[in-house]
Amino acid sequence: MNWSQALPIVFLGLMGLAMFVYVVLDGFDLGVGMLLPRASDTDKDLMISSIGPFWDANETWLVLGIGILLIAFPKAHGIVMTALYLPIALMLVGLILRGVAFDFRVKAQASHKPLWNAAFFAGSMLASLAQGWMLGRYITGFASGEPYLYFAGAIALCLPAAYTLVGAAWLVMKTEGTLQQVAVRWAQQAWLPVVLGMALISLATPMISQTVFDRWFAFPQLIALSVIPLVCAVCLGGMLAVLRSPQVFGPLCWLPFAFVVTVFTLGGVGLAYSLYPYVIIDRMTIWQAASATESLAVILIGCAVSVPAIAAYTLFAYRVFWGKARELTYA
């Protein structure tokens, strides 16, 4: 395999990684945003404090993912962006609203705080719904026809549920006392919709796309692939068990979050397996969409140096704010 064949694969991997990290990291802070209206006023502040130091960096992973699509696969970027024009606009409005509400709510007059809380919730919800819709449209390669729209609609509803679950699991891990107790309840409530949604999507995707069907339902790979849904099922079952056990308030508070991240990981792996080597399914492969090899090589050098550095200081930031969330003060 030569460079012109290998580099697009490397960048597909990087893009997948960036998108996956984004979904997990921004997933929990979008989830916290959607849970905000259900908390008491003091708990609201603590919830925001738990994501405060991270959200800017979390959203940067989206820029990296979209950036790689833009710079490594420019020919696909235009098609994707044009096909998703409206949901992208709505998502951006959502992300803008929640990003600024985050800062405004503590800096504006106290009387305006409920307004910014509402903006934070609405922005989180809008961004999550739009992302779900885009995922649904993307999986089908932007196919036209009614069933495809229902499919996208279903995913649009499932993704906010999944974000809520990971958000609640984050709070279970990062908080204590009454907020932790309600967070466990929120996680329990979000569990069933997420399980149903994942089952539905797993069944519907092969039905809606022949390519995906052929990929999964053939021997002998079906046997190997069955690990993915099985481990997912175990994790989701384990999660429910932990959420119902008193241990979740003690030493096992991190376990629901770990389970849900594992489920997300497997979902990502399954999705990648379904789509590879297409960047737009059935229409454009990564090699057709890729930039010139020299340009990719230049970016790769940058990635090789900076992505480990980014990972290192991201971990450092999480370590600095490790443990239970406390009220944040500027200093």
Partner: protein
């Protein structure tokens, strides 16, 4: 209205909204580092009060910059899908390096800078502040490289309509880059100076001044007074560079319709595209030739020399005058303020109230000048997206006009609301008394991993 114009308006709305915030955060990051350093050096609490207040402004500004920056990263594709298809090999790596080396650096250390004091050592905290400031500047570097390359392309090879890299050094240090980069960094510095001076003056006027107010005002006015002559000089060099590489932009800025010798400087005019001439001109004879060519009889090319390849005249003519006017005003105000306030030993209680009102009125003057300057250079690149080589119309998206119009309306409404919110929150924060010191939080033992 056609889809192309709507797409341009939408992109302009986004990029205008976006640039407001990096313009502040680039220089404000370094200013925070200065405040912090002064506090460590002098142990005067006033510097810490200043640091804390402006950190909050930074956090808010940065958040607005991040969210509008995310919007930008999508709009390259939604509005100009052809751009990346054609020049992706050059623009891609530049944008990629911006995200990898700058965007992450800023966002990653921002959390520690804002909330980490007491959780990390003083040195690590200072380092985090430095890295955030450094990141904003590196970000400006990459973005201005790309923008300058689009204005004065160099170091590329074109094969079958697609751009390939010929030489990275030539792309990075393309002819207009040094001028544009310097001009933007100084613009950011001036914007922050007048923002700080304006809010400090406002605090004094509203009897909400605290110990930090005169210190901040002094730093702001002194820095502005030093930087503004430098900015005027850099602007002049930038203009000469533009004349060399993009003469049609200069023709539009100066309202020169027909190529002429001994061109007069038009102080005021009403450029009229239909008749290809200016109405109601007020001119100074030969001065434009003298300024631009350092020869009062020199010939300057007019719009007529560039059929079908020149920008619209009126927006450039006006935006240029707004920018220059603002610069002259900044010069007058900063020097006058420095002289008057220094005479009183920077004791604001005796500062002339009209002066304080003037400074308060100029709080956002940097925004006006910066946006006007960007309009000159960006509208001045039209009808090209890559000057002389690629037309904007050829890379526009095929999205139907009504959809662009609808999202444009949505964005503009949101942006206007956010600008109003931003300004009113700054005002509110300035009027609120500073949270009194338990100045440094005592370091707590790190919470145990749960």
């Amino acid at each position: 209205m056609d889809a192309l114009l709507l797409a341009r308006m939408q992109f302009a709305a986004n990029i205008t909204f976006h640039i407001l915030f990096p313009t502040i955060s680039i220089a404000l990051g370094w200013t925070l580092l200065f405040f912090r350093w002064r506090w460590l050096k002098t142990q005067q609490d006033a510097w810490l009060v200043a640091y804390r207040f402006w950190t909050k402004v930074f956090a808010l500004t940065f958040a607005l910059g991040v969210v509008s920056g995310i919007t930008m990263s999508f709009q390259f594709g939604t509005n100009w899908p052809g751009f990346m298809e054609r020049v992706g090999n050059i623009a891609g790596p530049l944008l990629g390096y911006e995200v990898l080396t700058a965007f992450f650096l800023e966002a990653g250390f921002l959390g520690i800078m804002l909330f980490g004091h007491g959780r990390v050592s003083e040195r690590v905290h200072l380092m985090a502040t430095f890295l955030v400031a450094f990141g904003t500047t590196v970000s400006a570097f990459w973005i201005l490289v790309l923008n300058s390359w689009m204005q004065t392309p160099a170091g590329h090879v074109i094969r079958d309509g697609e751009f390939f890299v010929g030489s990275w050094p030539q792309i990075l240090f393309n002819p207009s880059f040094p001028y544009r980069f310097a001009h933007m960094l100084l613009a950011s510095t001036l914007t922050v100076c007048f923002l700080m001076a304006g809010l400090a003056a406002w605090q004094q006027l509203k009897h909400r001044a605290n110990a930090s107010t005169p210190k901040v005002l002094r730093v702001a006015i002194t820095l502005a007074a030093l930087v503004i002559p430098l900015q005027i000089a850099v602007g002049d060099l930038h203009g000469l560079n533009t004349l060399e590489h993009q003469p049609q932009k200069i023709a539009a800025m100066e309202g020169i319709w027909k190529t002429e010798r001994a061109a007069p400087l038009r102080l005021f005019a009403w450029p009229d595209a239909a008749s290809q001439s200016n109405l109601y001109e007020i001119t100074v004879p030969r001065l434009a030739s003298l300024i631009l060519k350092h020869d009062a009889d020199a010939q300057l090319l007019g719009i007529d020399a560039f059929p079908d390849a020149h920008p619209p005249v009126a927006p450039l003519f006006w935006a240029f005058r707004v920018m220059v006017g603002m610069g002259v005003l900044m010069l007058a105000v900063s020097w006058t303020s420095w002289w008057l306030l220094r005479r009183q030993g920077w004791d604001l209680t005796h500062a002339p109230r009209p002066l304080l009102w003037l400074l308060a009125a100029m709080t956002f003057s940097g925004w006006v000048a910066t946006v006007a300057g960007w309009y000159v250079t960006e509208i001045g690149r039209q009808p090209f997206i890559v000057f002389g080589l690629l037309r904007t119309a050829d890379v526009a998206s095929k999205v139907p006009a009504p959809m662009i119009a609808a999202t444009l309306a949505m964005y503009v409404t949101l942006y206007l609301a956010l600008i109003v919110a931003y300004i009113s929150v700054l005002k509110y924060m300035a009027e609120k008394p500073p949270t009194e010191p338990a100045l440094v939080p005592t370091p707590e033992p790190r919470a145990q991993p749960a």
